[in-house]
Symmetry: C2
Subunit: 337 residues, 2 copies
Amino acid sequence: MSIEKPYLLFLGDVPDQLAAKTATGVVDWRPDWCVGQTRLEGCKADTGLPDMTIAEGRAAGGRTLVIGAVNPGGVLPDNWVASVVEAIEAGMDVASGLHMRLGSSPEIREAAERRGARLHDVRHADRQFATGKGFRRSGKRLLTVGTDCSIGKKYTALALEREMSARGFDAEFCATGQTGVLIAGRGVAIDAVIADFISGAVEWLTPEAAPDHWQIVEGQGSLFHPSFAGVSLGLLHGAQPDAFIVCHEPTRTTMRNVRTPIPDVADVIDLTVRHGRLNNQDIRCVGISVNTSALDAAEADACLRQLSERFDLPAVDPIRMGVLPIVERLETEFPRP
Amino acid sequence: MSIEKPYLLFLGDVPDQLAAKTATGVVDWRPDWCVGQTRLEGCKADTGLPDMTIAEGRAAGGRTLVIGAVNPGGVLPDNWVASVVEAIEAGMDVASGLHMRLGSSPEIREAAERRGARLHDVRHADRQFATGKGFRRSGKRLLTVGTDCSIGKKYTALALEREMSARGFDAEFCATGQTGVLIAGRGVAIDAVIADFISGAVEWLTPEAAPDHWQIVEGQGSLFHPSFAGVSLGLLHGAQPDAFIVCHEPTRTTMRNVRTPIPDVADVIDLTVRHGRLNNQDIRCVGISVNTSALDAAEADACLRQLSERFDLPAVDPIRMGVLPIVERLETEFPRP
């Protein structure tokens, strides 16, 4: 799917900033794609973009209304449905990362059919994929992997795309989760694909490319997570990465929503290399990305230094200091012509 | 899903025996569940069961018409649809392992709604699963894994169930593929589950059980197959097996439908143990099941002896000689009270 830009971001009437993190993610990484925000009475979230009505957003060039907030109940409340229908009537497409499909609202479905609007339910993969083949494809790929879920894989990939582009690399973020798809304007929510087609969907997402083009693939889950390791392995095989980065949070002891201990970074590197060699013999780790938000500055420095020395790899907190040391490592490992 | 027994097996008018391998599999492993077969004019397949009309099959006690053959085009031809509708009108449910859903035929859907018949599309997993949790469950589990797809994992699991039951074990085959589901009368086609729920679906399929109850779980794919390794890993995590058997075909050089070399049995054992320990520290390999059909008797003996000595494990061809040596190994490794 490819979502028409620019976006008008819809925040509804959510009660806090966290509920609008999809919208803030889009603004953080793709400010040029956003014409403004639309909020309903009582909304407590704010992306900092100009407030506008749907008509004003359309007049400002908005092509797609992006549902950038999550209603606590997980469904579309009636007053949100009215806004979505208004956007469709104004000539816009609509994109949503909610579990509930936009078309499951009869009002929205009928309006979209009448106006020919496209409804993007980015959490659902409606297209058919082939099974993965494992053949080597031209171009270069980097994958962010993790010691757990929700540990900075998307953020790290986006930070790398930005820093690599600034250094003159031809780099492209490839989204594999619903927020990532809204930020990239295309992609596949890989955890929503039928199990037989995980690696095939990633092969579709990261096709053959120019030799110096880098696809920066957003990782999902962890090879060590008892819920999602199958997704992580299919993603690794499909992406056939030349390089990978391990994302880590040093104060977590067990993985999210289960009792399984967080694995050691060494085990993640070792098993990622072992599985990755199936489709790319040259796979290597090029850095460690650490979320040190639970540490003070001195602790964070010590943690990063220790990881860097132990693995002889750049170790960075992408929020505190950016990812430049990892990009420099990439330049050394994969010299450009 | 749980399919009502006994079955009336429908073979349609397929042109050869291979096209009816689902029906022959059911007859091989569950002869007591089958009242007979129904064939159309020109059918060249034969399960050896008595031929009967649908009315006769129903009168003989048949509760479910099982589509036991595959039409070359992958769809339900009109003359098959008529038989399915006739079975529904006679008061039977219908089960199918075809890609095409039974209910996608308006005649079948309307007849099923009118008569309250259940339509089992065993290749599609329509129920919702939770994500996998990885918590240890009581009871014992054995998983068949493989160096490739289509290498004897289902056959080995069924042979084990039969031999273990004969030796007094409390053993139960747990199906993870469409043919297996028709043979077991329940199960999940795991490759058709949404990627996020692979291990969760297997946890549902293999719940807590009595301490000496053995769930014999049908494996899928291979950890080394570039198309399906994600399915295999989620299945391994969900099954949290105490014991596993490696299924192998010694003359294959590359995996099915791809160019990837067949892995060494040692690598399959090593990586299965490594991943399996996430949810079960005691996981161990208890045997090797080899399809030696491409070898003559002397070659087969040499192959099995060499594998057995190399890994200090029983190595058998389940078709040539059965799986008793593996069951004896299980008795030694997991003594019964």
